[in-house]
């Protein structure tokens, strides 16, 4: 740690301690000391898949001890940035693709915190469209593990009980809301008290309303030729978001409901579905009775079923700390994760697809729609991945909360997003 880093590290020590208390540390039985172990940090949503991958890694490498720490997204980012700036970051850690997030590769790599993985044996197999969001300055810094999507994850029993079926048009979505309400259920559980959840329905709708085939929206936005406020697609998505709310499609008081509660509502069948990142299906299953079947459908935004597209992008990615204490073990672990069978297992446990495709992957039929949409070119990268800084996403998250509280209009929120976009 340099002298200049010390004060910053001490300034955030209390925060770090707090976050450490909120995290879940799993030390393997008989594990050694922290300094002797390969240290890995990841997001809580990865626990099921990463724990399984680590168990397999330890069987294959009994001489390497592993310590893994999990935390939810917000505290994870805080801890990671603090650890990176103070030189205490784990050897291998979860990092986000592109640059729209405080823990994204194109935010962290330019500061020299990530090890260049371009020479790893799997680097040449990374698909071109995945490379654009896992590289920085032409170098591969992330191992992409899963390709995930945002769709409506639903409880099949609850769907049957309300007399509904997978909607393929916007009208079907509204009909499902009515059927659920008539049956005393909720169509879509929504935990908008948790900031990152607020963006998901907008993303699902925008992928159809803005990113029509041949759309140049992102390039036009970057070139100053358009704006969020001028986008009829973005405004349309927010209008539809509010329309769903007014129609009674969501669980009661979404602004007072945390994501954990919303996922439990789907698991218990109190709500039919939740528009979510597919990785959360595991948490829904945890809350559900044994044998509960889940399914998934892309959220339609128009009455043309063929026009529907879904957000689909690199989900889980891992990086190696440029100052890893045990570089050899870290590289061994990353290369282990990149093996097709391991990546397939990880993807299956995340209800996703492997980010480096291979023929051996057999998707869970409940979530096959993601792969079908990916193969037919009907997926759209998560919107924030191409935003120039994390402030745009934050403006969107708090803006949606203000939409739901009546404190702002869609135009207000989009104007704030434009300001944040230009504040880089």
């Amino acid at each position: 740690m340099t002298n200049r880093r010390l004060p910053a590290a001490l300034c955030v020590l209390a925060t770090g301690a707090l976050l450490a208390a909120c995290s879940n540390t799993a030390t393997p039985p008989g594990g050694g000391t922290a300094s002797a172990a390969l240290r890995i940090a990841s997001n809580s949503s990865e626990k099921i898949a990463l724990d399984a991958a680590i168990a397999a890694f330890k069987r294959a490498n009994p001489g390497i001890d592993v310590q893994v720490t999990y935390a939810d997204t917000d505290p994870y980012l805080t801890t990671l940035r603090t650890q990176l700036s103070s030189g205490t970051a784990p050897d291998v850690f979860f990092a986000f693709p592109a640059k729209g997030n405080a823990g994204a590769v194109q935010v962290l790599a330019p500061s020299g915190y990530l090890q260049d993985l371009s020479a790893r044996p799997w680097a040449g197999q990374v698909p071109q469209d995945v490379k654009t969001v896992t590289q920085a300055g032409g170098k591969q810094y992330l191992l992409p593990v899963t390709f995930t999507g945002i769709g409506a994850i639903y409880n099949k029993k609850a769907m049957r009980e309300v007399g509904g079926s997978e909607p393929t048009t916007w009208k079907d979505v509204l009909d499902l809301c009515d059927k659920a309400r008539t049956a005393g259920r909720t169509a879509f559980a929504l935990g908008n008290q948790t900031p990152w959840v607020t963006q998901l329905i907008d993303y699902a709708l925008v992928s159809t309303l803005v990113y029509t085939p041949g759309s140049t929206f992102d390039a036009d936005l970057a070139g100053g030729r358009t704006s969020f406020a001028a986008s009829t697609g973005w405004k349309g998505a927010m209008d539809k978001y509010l329309e769903l709310s007014k129609r009674g499609c969501f669980s009661k008081d979404p602004l007072g409901t945390p994501v954990e509660t919303a996922l439990q509502q789907v698991g218990k069948g109190e709500a039919v579905a939740a528009v979510q990142v597919l990785a959360t299906a595991g948490q829904i299953r945890d809350a559900a009775a044994q044998g509960t079947e889940l399914g998934m459908f892309p959220l339609p935004a128009t009455d043309d079923a063929q026009a529907t597209r879904m957000p689909g992008a690199v989900g889980t990615s891992y990086a190696i700390n440029a100052k890893a204490r045990d570089r050899a073990a870290a590289e061994k672990f990353i290369d282990f994760l990149a093996q097709p069978q391991i990546m397939n297992d990880y993807a299956a446990k995340s209800n996703a697809a492997p980010a480096i495709p291979n023929d051996a992957f057999a998707p869970d039929p409940a979530f096959a729609a993601l792969l079908e949409y990916q193969k037919s070119g009907r997926t759209v990268p998560f919107m924030d991945q191409f935003w120039p800084n994390p402030k745009v996403q934050q403006a969107h998250l708090s803006g949606v909360q203000e939409l739901f509280s009546g404190a702002a209009t869609p135009q207000d929120v989009l104007t704030e997003m434009d300001k944040a976009y230009k504040s880089n």
Binding site: A8, L10, C22, A102, P110, K252, N389, S398, S405
Partner: protein, 279 residues
Amino acid sequence: MLPALALYLYVVLVPSFRGAGYAFTDWSGLGERMSFVGLENFARIFDDSAAQDALWQTVAITAVITIVQNVVGLLLALGVHSRIRSRNALRVLFFAPAVMTPVVTAYLWRYLYAPEGALNTALDALGLGALRQNWLGDPGLALWSVAAIVIWQFSGYSMVIFLAGLQSVPRELHEAAGVDGAGAVQRFWHITRPLLASAVTINVMLALIGGFKLFDQVYVTTGGGPGHATETLSTLIYKNAFQFGDFAYSTAIAVLLAVVVAAVSAVQYRGLRQQKGSS
């Protein structure tokens, strides 16, 4: 003494002053790149509506916490200072929340405040369903819901300090005043209140400092939302430092917060000392 002072200097004072130096740079919180920008970050605060909203919300919640927590604390202290048989048990009961970690109590209250949580369920059970609220989801209510958590947790702490003050009031003064015909209210106002000045000083200062620094309870329950309805200076500092990658600006707000806390504390300390001296 000297080793402790040296440790304090190295761990607290030096990092604090060196940390404040970041307020005069453009450091993002990551990497080596850093340039001196003078007072630019401080000037930005005055153009930043989010910072101004957070400042006023911080002042408002601090004022409410300080007043209500101390009134409740004083009433509790007067209650458990009496000769009721259960006073020791009540003292423990009222003080217990103060020894819990704020993060833990905030998580607890997040579930109590949930739309279908214990608080609304209890209102229903009592036939008061009309009073059900979206405690943390209503922007007009969320800030005060958070304030209630702090007041619930630390009123017992204020009680203990007031109780120490009450126990230092000579019983003979009350007995003499009683002989002279003074009622309970008169005895409290003319004897107890002036002698509680030290306890008031400590309690008000602690509540003020705690209110201005309020973070844990806001971060856990609302994260500053819905929208920015419960944003305080501390949550804004956190977001700028760790979510927006704007560490230098975050430090500038922190420096401003430290100056405000020091100034307010100094003014009220001086005022209360004068009051104590004149009584």
